[in-house]
């Protein structure tokens, strides 16, 4: 084997993990972007309900949350376990994919219903549905690295 081929093989071995890592980082970044959207819009929506932000924005926040949850399932499809940092995805997401994806599908349906109610009757109609519609904690307890 000539030296050039050996050099090329060595380079490929050294570089390949870095390339794979970059792709994995893209995947982690993407799902973080989607889940951050949910978190930020949920916080904003709650502020409208608490009188800390303009009430007329409530419907728009619900719409955006609905959009984000529809993005979520696709964002988690690539099996790339989180890096272990706070808030990152646990390996259980993919080990229990049938359960995880079912929960996301249910959340999509619930937020679609919440959006419909919000559009029809604003916070007065959708408000009572919020607690049942946003079951974030039950998923986060199982599938997300906790703060402590």
């Amino acid at each position: 084997m000539n030296r050039l081929v050996k050099f090329g093989m060595a380079l490929a071995i050294l570089v390949a993990p870095a390339v794979a890592q970059a792709d994995d980082q893209d995947i982690m970044n993407y799902r973080k972007q989607v889940m951050t959207t949910l978190g930020q819009q949920a916080a904003a929506m709650n502020m409208t309900l608490q009188g800390k932000a303009p009430a007329e924005q409530f419907v728009s926040h619900v719409k955006t949350m609905h959009l984000a949850i529809t993005q979520a399932k696709k964002a988690f499809e690539p099996k790339v376990v989180g890096d272990g940092s706070i808030g990152s995805a646990k390996a259980e997401v993919w080990a229990n994919w049938a359960d995880f994806s079912k929960r996301i599908d249910e959340q999509v349906v619930k937020l679609a219903a919440l959006e419909k109610a919000a559009v029809e009757g604003g916070a007065a109609k959708a408000g009572p549905m919020i607690q049942a519609s946003l079951d974030c904690q039950s998923c986060h307890k199982m599938y997300r690295v906790p703060k402590n």
Partner: protein, 152 residues
């Protein structure tokens, strides 16, 4: 769009929106801020991450099957943005010039809202490629940030 064109587009895209990728504030940080500041930051953080997701798609790093949804999320969030600045509460990353030059600031925000809505509607009616053709004109975040946001 070829992969090379996507790569070039991502560079232009990153240049135009540069400065939008500030670290997203955690809820704990928001708790210490005035409500008006925490609220507008939640909206601007949403824009940051949705635009970043679109940027990843343009760069080819992420599949492009959610483009329509991201454009819709950006348009919807853009519609929230101006209202979130109406309360004149200084703080966070917004400079006082936001309220000193309110006519200009609000005109820019309204323009942003119209252009992102057009992009989202175009994506739904004509497909993502038609919408992405003019997306750089809609997402001129840096033009506003240079004037109205603290330097990163």
């Amino acid at each position: 769009m070829t992969r090379r064109n996507k790569f070039l587009a991502s560079i232009v895209f990153a240049t135009l929106i540069s400065g939008t990728m500030a670290p997203v504030a955690f809820a704990a940080d928001a708790a210490a801020k005035p409500d008006a500041v925490a609220y507008r930051e939640a909206i601007m953080n949403t824009l940051d991450v949705q635009v970043a997701a679109l940027g990843q798609i343009l760069s080819g790093a992420t599949p492009d099957d959610q483009v329509v949804s991201h454009l819709e999320a950006i348009a919807e969030t853009a519609s929230q943005a101006l209202k979130s600045f109406e309360a004149k509460v200084e703080g966070g990353e917004a400079l006082p010039v936001v309220w000193q030059k309110w006519d200009d600031f609000s005109a820019r925000m309204k323009d942003f809202q119209v252009k992102t809505r057009t992009a989202a509607d175009t994506a739904k009616a004509q497909g993502k490629d038609a919408a992405l053709a003019n997306i750089l004109d809609a997402l001129r975040c840096k033009d506003c940030h240079d004037i109205y946001r603290k330097k990163q």
